[in-house]
């Protein structure tokens, strides 16, 4: 047998682009507005958790640019985002209903209340590492249909350890599926630091092994995230998968129940420098506009709270109604018994 050369030809170079991209001022402002919503929601949701309104919440402090910048690059007429449990910046940027989304964190309905095909994102789900391979399958369907749609799969540095993610990379590359794998490398998986999680420290570096182009970006620079994701999506529609690794930092706890002082120091957090919201504020450099945008975000999040506190009663019947499209006789009988035993008749 002929021995192939050590490495296959290097995948295409996509970033940084040959000609630097200028993000228009109004685009930057639109991005900033969504980031402010995400940030305000985080601040408020942590408060709501303390007040007992939410059982728990995983804030996305510090990841606003990565989430908003990437999701804003999606074409809502044909693309789809595959999200996890810490992606409310994506929800904000897609302008999906945040009250519906918060239904999951409110412990009303696992997954929230959005219709994925309308909202253009999959339901909130917690199984770390599951998004990539599903995004690949969905993307392959777009290729078969010729819809021009692409999938954007979100996952973290921790998730990249799951076999499913490696399978996704390989499937996508072999079948040239139009999918962009968007890794938020926020340096932490719960209490586990990057060096114990990712050998070599970078997930993008692995793309070459799957003959895929990869892009490493400053995940705290919203313009860079937005432009790089657009480049990746355009490439994916034509040629196949791309990995984007957005380097960022989880500035909050893993979730409201978590106590980061058990595994990292305040010192480390203080070394981080300006966060992505501060950075976009500086880039826009228009105080009165910023004040208005902040007030708008506060109003939007107040409406979310209002929507959440207006009791949205999920009837116990719904527990039985959505297991199948075609309910089994056993479930129907259990539902009847549940009604009788709980006086619902």
């Amino acid at each position: 047998m002929t021995v192939p050369p050590i490495a296959s030809p290097a995948p295409e170079h996509l970033w940084p682009p040959q000609i630097p991209i200028e993000t228009p001022a109004d685009t930057l402002r639109a991005l900033a507005r969504h980031m402010l919503v995400s940030r305000t929601l985080d601040v408020e949701a942590v408060r709501w958790q303390r007040q007992g309104i939410l059982p728990a919440f995983p804030p996305a402090f510090g990841q606003e640019a990565a989430q908003v910048g990437s999701a804003f690059a999606l074409d809502k007429t044909r693309d789809m985002a595959f999200i996890t449990y810490r992606d409310h910046g994506v929800i904000a940027a897609l302008e999906s209903d945040l009250t519906d989304y918060m239904g999951s964190h409110l412990a009303l309905w696992n997954g929230g209340f959005a219709d994925p095909n309308e909202a253009r994102h999959t339901p909130l789900q917690a199984v770390v590492g599951s998004t990539g391979i599903q995004a690949m399958g969905w993307a392959y369907a777009q290729k078969l249909e010729g819809s021009g749609g692409a999938a954007l799969a979100y996952f973290g540095d921790g998730a990249s350890s799951q076999g499913d993610v490696h399978e996704a990379f390989n499937f996508a590359s072999v079948m040239e599926a139009p999918v962009v794998f968007f890794v938020q490398n926020n340096q932490w998986s719960l209490s586990t630091p990057l060096h114990l999680q990712v050998a070599g420290g970078s997930i993008a570096d692995r793309a070459a092994g799957y003959a895929m182009p990869s892009i490493k970006i400053d995940g705290d620079d919203v313009a860079e995230v937005f432009e790089a994701t657009r480049v990746a999506l355009d490439y994916a529609r034509e040629h196949g998968p791309v990995v984007i690794e957005a380097f960022t930092y989880r500035r909050g706890p893993h979730a409201t129940s978590d106590d980061p002082s058990r595994y990292r120091t305040l010192e480390e957090e203080r070394m981080l420098g300006p966060d992505p919201v501060d950075r976009v504020k500086d880039a826009i450099a228009d105080d009165s506009w910023w004040q208005r945008a902040t007030a708008d975000a506060e109003e939007a999040v107040a409406a979310v709270r209002e929507g959440m506190t207006r009791p949205r009663y999920v009837h116990g019947d719904e527990m039985f109604d959505f297991v199948f499209q075609e309910k089994t006789p056993q479930i129907a009988a259990q539902q009847q018994q549940w009604r009788e035993e709980t006086d619902r008749d």
């Binding site: 009303l108 917690a126 199984v127 586990t192 990712v198």
Partner: protein, 336 residues
């Protein structure tokens, strides 16, 4: 100091601990006495696990033996298999019940059958710790009751302690057994305290009588034991005498213990959080039918979770058998 259970003058061997502390203590004692033991999983080291069950173990025994692994459950179990092949006795953890699902490939296709494949020459001695069941209003896949899924797999043993004393001793016992043991910890009971008598484990095989009675037997395990005892106490006010059996071992089931109680009372209600269809309630019902056909006063009743995914926190109380639903089951049996 804690209350003692022993006569004055004797050296107290019992200590009041929570289940979480008892499990922690069991692992400490195992790691200290068995150099071939290892504890590993996601966030079990520096953080001490999300429930702090492994708190302090890495500081005491080092990061080579108490390991924060990368985030991959099939990897964690595959690594455990390899360690067992090399003669180690690992104690891996999956962070929550629902995250045992990604591990099923290594668990079912490898760990459960390596002893068989190798004609007994390569045992898979390990304990997989699984924080289990609902009751804490957790998000999706953090409140699953997977005991019948596990019990159905040839080659896996399954045990579930219901209090701190059982937790300590059953974990130590499971570690000493030469087969893979699925150790299902009732997470809603982690913080409940009870006396742990270190020197007097009691019989660790089979089931236990958690509450004595004459008229009817409730068979259950894990977090449901405390509820069943509550039901027994309520029923006693109405002069109904209920025996509660804590099954403890779900594989193998303690056939003799269960049959003995129901032979005495003539009536049985099986209570579990897991969905009804193909749940262990059916297995136990069939066992009792085989052994006590014609000697029971009523068919075996089941009070279980429904055939639905564990719902979101707000509906949890509708799903998990509560006092009322267990009492309805008792009533159906008594009035049959």
């Amino acid at each position: 100091m804690t209350e003692t259970l022993v006569p004055q003058g004797a050296v107290p061997t019992a200590q009041s601990l929570s289940t979480q502390q008892a499990l922690n203590r069991a692992m400490r004692d195992i790691l200290a006495s068995d150099p071939k033991s290892l504890v590993f999983g996601e966030d079990v080291g520096k953080l001490g696990g999300v429930f702090r069950v492994t708190d302090g173990l890495q500081a005491e025994f080092g990061a080579e033996r108490v390991i924060d692994t990368p985030l991959a459950e099939s990897g964690i179990l595959g690594m455990a298999a390899g360690l067992a092949m090399a003669g180690y006795r690992p104690i891996p953890e999956v962070q929550f019940d629902g995250f045992a699902y990604p591990a099923m490939n290594q668990l079912i296709s490898q760990i459960a059958r390596t002893n068989y494949r190798t004609r007994g020459t390569m045992p898979m001695q390990m304990v997989l710790r699984i924080p289990s069941y609902g009751g804490i209003r957790a998000p999706e896949l953090h409140g699953e009751s997977i005991e019948s899924t596990l019990a159905h797999v040839p080659g896996l043993k399954v045990v579930s302690p219901s209090n701190p004393h059982q937790a300590y001793h059953l974990l130590r016992k499971a570690h000493e057994m030469p087969d893979p043991v699925m150790f299902m910890e009732p997470k809603s009971r982690y913080w409940n305290r009870g006396d742990v008598d270190f020197d007097n484990p009691g019989d660790l095989a089979g089931s236990l009588v958690a509450h004595e009675g004459e008229d009817l037997t409730i068979i259950t395990w894990g977090a449901m034991v405390a509820k069943a005892v509550e039901v027994a106490e309520l029923a006693a006010e109405d002069e109904v005498s209920i025996e509660v059996i804590d099954a403890r071992w779900l594989k193998p089931l303690d056939e003799e213990g269960l049959v003995a109680s129901v032979a005495k009372t003539g009536r049985a209600v099986v209570v579990h959080e897991a969905p009804r269809t193909a749940g262990l309630g059916a297995e136990i019902g069939q066992l009792l039918t085989e052994r006590l056909w014609g000697r029971m006063q009523a068919p075996v009743e089941r009070v279980t979770g429904y055939d639905v995914p564990t719902p979101a926190g707000d509906l949890e109380d509708e799903y998990i058998p509560g006092i009322d639903r267990i009492l309805f089951g008792v009533q159906r049996s008594l009035e049959y």
